[in-house]
Symmetry: C2
């Protein structure tokens, strides 16, 4: 199957949800329909022989009886009825069928493996594609097609391929407020028909995709994967989270998606060889995506200048940046003298990390970034808000126009002027006051195109990975 067919799959004009029950909203079918309505998807057709109406729309007994064309079908009924649904779909001339339904080959039972084979045969015969089974399917902002509410609906450059439906929803849900936007997200589950290799091929050539992220538990065809990964990585940054890297994790992955996980070491070595950025969980993947999107231009070395208030956070930043493989160059005497002209001595620490009492004011921060930005050994700047209102004071004092607007502009302008990334590490929030403040501050900085991380350590890890990827790329490794 050539992957050009996937173009149609990512732009369906109409969707049918099989198994939608108006009596039970708390199902994937119910949530999907609500999410599609929220997203403004134009043509949704619930299918359930028990009802004539569902979710305020006409409900049909089967796909064939829907008036007008149906491009995409989402199946949420038991595995036992899979073949009947596929016959129904074949009659209608659909382009793709997504099975949310689980209980196929991943059960490890022989007849379920055979059932999957028959399903694939039916799809090939009728000329449509199958997504899954055992997955949450598609999220395509441009097509207003979504599998969950609250996902970021503006299109953007990131394609995410995920063997976990949970991760396929969590990644855009949590990356959205950090400014990350998506071209297409595909949860492909058991990979019966459409698999990670075809998706990698497609996204490598997809003009709407600038960055490819993937959660993979296992690949069927290692040789093919190697080829598609090489080509993808040569054209675009690739970020990979491999699930099942320990013995227990491997066992778990087999039960999850029937993945024939090959040697973890071989997989990791392959990623390394092709310069794919490897991460250890969804949150780390989000951090790397934030760095790839907003920490621009990418740093030309490991040197970080850390500025902000608080001795504890400064010590922590030092430890965590060094542990992540980054370095904190010393501030040259001339630069230090320049800083002393506008930073007060009292309570200040004129080293790197730099800690001075007025490093909460936009003007002082902007000037400090510009002065430090001149140092060749400093390749990126981190402003940490450890000892800062966001986590500590949180009374709305810093989420107002007086502070937030000039602060965002200052940081953005400094980044543009010094041509080195300016990174923000915002302290975590734990209560309502702090969380409200964090979201307000984050939203403002994200609108200004700044990379926002939720701890110094996370910022350090993500920047170290992106710096390493960029360095190897410049050295000709993929």
């Amino acid at each position: 199957m050539s992957s050009v067919f996937l173009d149609h799959i990512f732009m369906p004009r109409s969707v049918s949800v099989v198994g939608a029950s108006p009596e039970n909203f708390a199902t994937f079918a119910g949530f999907t329909i609500i999410a599609l309505i929220d997203a403004g998807f134009p043509a949704i057709y619930p299918v359930n022989p028990k009802y004539t109406e569902a979710f305020g729309m006409p409900c049909y007994p089967n796909v064939s009886s829907i008036p007008g064309p149906v491009d995409h079908v989402i199946v949420c009924i038991p595995a036992e009825m899979a073949l009947d649904v596929l016959d129904d779909c074949a009659g209608k001339g659909v382009k793709s069928v997504h099975f949310f339904t689980a209980g196929f080959s991943e059960s490890g039972e022989k007849e379920r493996v055979e059932l999957e084979n028959t399903m694939l045969y039916k799809a090939r015969a009728a000329g449509f594609r199958i997504i899954g089974p055992n997955c949450t399917g598609l999220f395509v902002p441009k097509a207003r097609l979504t599998c969950a509410t609250r996902l970021p609906m503006e299109p953007g450059p990131v394609a995410f391929i995920s063997q976990s439906g949970g991760h396929a929803q969590d990644l855009p849900l949590h990356a959205g407020p950090r400014g990350v936007r998506f071209s297409k997200v595909v949860s492909y589950g058991n990979a019966l028909d459409i698999d990670e290799c075809e998706l990698f091929e497609y996204f490598t050539d997809d003009p709407e995709t600038g960055i490819i992220a993937a959660y993979i538990e296992g690949v069927r065809d290692g040789e093919r994967f190697k080829k598609v990964l090489k080509r993808a990585s040569q054209k675009k940054p690739v970020v990979i989270y491999k699930g099942g890297i320990t013995e227990t994790g491997l066992r778990s992955a087999r039960s999850h998606t029937a993945s024939m996980t090959s040697s973890v070491q071989v997989f990791q070595a392959l990623c390394c060889q092709e310069n794919a950025i490897q991460v250890n969980d969804v949150q780390e993947m989000i951090d790397v995506l934030v760095a790839l999107n907003f920490a621009v231009p990418y740093p030309q070395g490991t040197g970080v200048a850390v500025i902000g208030q608080g001795g504890g956070p400064s010590v922590q930043a030092s430890d965590q940046l060094e542990a992540a493989g980054l370095s904190l160059p010393s501030i040259p005497p001339g630069i230090s003298a320049e800083l002393r002209q506008f930073l007060p001595m009292a309570g200040a620490i004129f080293t790197n990390p730099l800690d001075a009492t007025n490093l909460v004011f936009p003007d002082a921060i902007g000037e400090t970034l510009r002065v430090l930005g001149k140092v060749t050994e400093i390749n990126m700047m981190m402003y940490h808000m450890g000892f800062h209102p966001v986590s500590r004071w949180g009374e709305g004092r810093f989420s107002n126009d007086f502070f937030l607007k000039p602060m965002g502009e200052t940081l953005h302008n400094a980044m543009v002027e010094i041509k080195k990334p300016v990174i923000l590490a915002l302290g975590p929030a734990s209560d309502r006051v702090g969380m409200e403040e964090l979201l307000t501050v984050q939203q403002a900085f994200v609108s200004d195109g700044l990379p926002v991380f939720h701890s110094i350590e996370k910022a350090a890890l993500a920047m170290a990975r992106v710096e390493g990827w960029h360095r190897r790329k410049n050295a000709g490794i993929s």
Copy 2:
């Protein structure tokens, strides 16, 4: 100095804040006064010769002119005036003076080191104690004495000793909503008079303290520290976060608190030898404190049963638990058969992690915990909400009485009945809907006495540390 004197310091009846300016609330003095008023502290005296009124209270020109006794003085004026303030305090007969003021020995300047020596001499001569300088001082809920707003004001078992003022505020701020409560928190900065050794001694014998946590950048007297740590650790769990473990971190710690940080390896070996639980940052310390407070009775081995919904989170849990040093015992056939009586086969994974479609309902979860709890190899249970409303759906559907009340009761009862800790890993939240839901759900579970963590990985790390500490303790190591 015998540490019994600290009793008075922790129970001041009146506090004077020197340097309080009604024109500038955004100073430590201003924030402290507002926090003390909020906390209901009975007698607060602002001192500033420029004003006769501040913060709606009479303002005095100096400490001596305050009518009635003053127990504790908080100094927020420049270092140059330190000796004058101390003379003023000596005349008044105060018990303790806390210097928020920085710019002393940590500046590395000779005259500032000498200034500190003179300060100590004056304090000894007048018979009062100095906290700091260069620190945020005391937080003692029982005395209504606080250095910041929004800290948990109910007294509890945790004492926290911190060489960073930022960490001294952040730890209770973020640990509060997780249910952790404090006896006394002391930010001791440059440790001119009261140091970590005296504080360890005091908290070892303090009947109000059950757990001792400490953020330490360096100790002056290694031999003495070794002795006090040994005695502390034999009586109570001790959790230590050492700041400055890398070369850059050490350099930073020296500039921060003038700490003569000895060999990191020696310090870490000492902690290990005395069975102190070591953590890498404030967030990890909070996680360990949550585990020590609520993951009871402490696990008798590394075996974890993981239950919840979602294949991706299950794989992630497997990888992260194994990486943390915990294990996932297989579910014996008899137990598996028992589970199948009430858990549906379809879409389920009957391994460990256990993933079944009805593992969102309190009844099914409670029964599952009770059945798995019988397995000897399983020492603790983790319920993860990776694929769960808190992070994903967040529409208030699960924060209501229908779900939340029986859920909390079920988990609590299971923990009591099976006599093994039941741990909750709640997914993170990123938008307003998710954060509101997370806080509501967390608050309910915390009220039920449950240990709540914000990711599977964090739960795994904390439980591995507490399990290891408990095992070594039972083996007679401290």
